[in-house]
């Protein structure tokens, strides 16, 4: 009888677990999407009409079986790279990605040289 009860509880919990997974996935995606009409807020944070529609569409796309990256590509095609908070490395964003590294290396080199001279 105990085993039967445990099985029933597990069966009842399965849809809830998968629902929670979907929610997590949806939250993760909407946190990386920019709300275009509220500037400075993610779709996840915003309660504007636009953001709410985006959330519904993300749910629909997840239901259709699209992966996280496919969903990002879908929105990128519609609104451009700006919609993503985490831009990918391409010809328009390479300065954004490489400049901090270059500055860091340059600064490091200057400090290293100075220290060497002092010795």
């Amino acid at each position: 009888m105990k085993i039967l009860k445990t099985i029933i509880i597990i069966l009842l919990l399965i849809p809830k677990i998968s629902f929670a997974d979907d929610q997590l996935e949806r939250n993760k995606i909407t946190k990386n999407l920019r709300c275009l009409i509220c500037q400075g807020q993610s779709v996840y944070d915003s309660d504007s009409d636009f953001a709410n529609s985006m959330k519904i569409l993300v749910d629909k796309k997840l239901e259709e079986g699209l992966s996280e990256n496919q969903i990002y590509d879908f929105f990128k095609e519609k609104y451009g790279e700006w919609i993503l908070y985490d831009p990918t490395l391409n010809k328009n964003t390479y300065i954004l990605w490489l400049l901090p590294i270059l500055i860091f290396l340059l600064g490091g080199a200057i400090i290293f040289k100075k220290l060497k001279f002092k010795k």
């Binding site: 275009l36 529609s53 519609k78």
Partner: protein, 172 residues
Amino acid sequence: MKDKLIPPMVIISFIIIFLIFYKGLQETNIYTPKSEIKKDIPIFSSVYFDSKENVNSSEIFNSNKFYLLNIWASWCVPCRQEHSYLMKLSENNKVTLIGLNYKDNFNNAQNFLTKLGNPYETILLDEDGTISIEWGAYGVPETFLIHKNKIVSKYIGPLNEQLINEINSIIK
């Protein structure tokens, strides 16, 4: 020699940084999406405004003539401003006007059309706003000129005399 070079280099760097920030301040920080010109129109399914019957977009945009898809709502004030221009454009038989009613109340939308006139040949419903996002729109009103299943031009915000002239020059 090296020490002499440092102060001018620091000053130049500061000037460059100042110019970059100054230019950044001059530019508007309100983002407008790039015009989705020459992009294929999205395939979507919707519901007719009157009959509430399901319809697929391929049944609507099925010929090679010009279509003008206008996203509107009765609660949207700029939509009222542009409505007279849409009424004028509807007299031109070279273009078919399709309305996409965005997150609206049916009775309010119907009153809006009774009061101001109905320029649309077909009206579709976008109850949750997802169809507008499929089109790459971000608000109301927004208008797309379509030809051969491609977006020819996109107009964000209300249409005006100048934009109507532009549309007329494209479709003639």
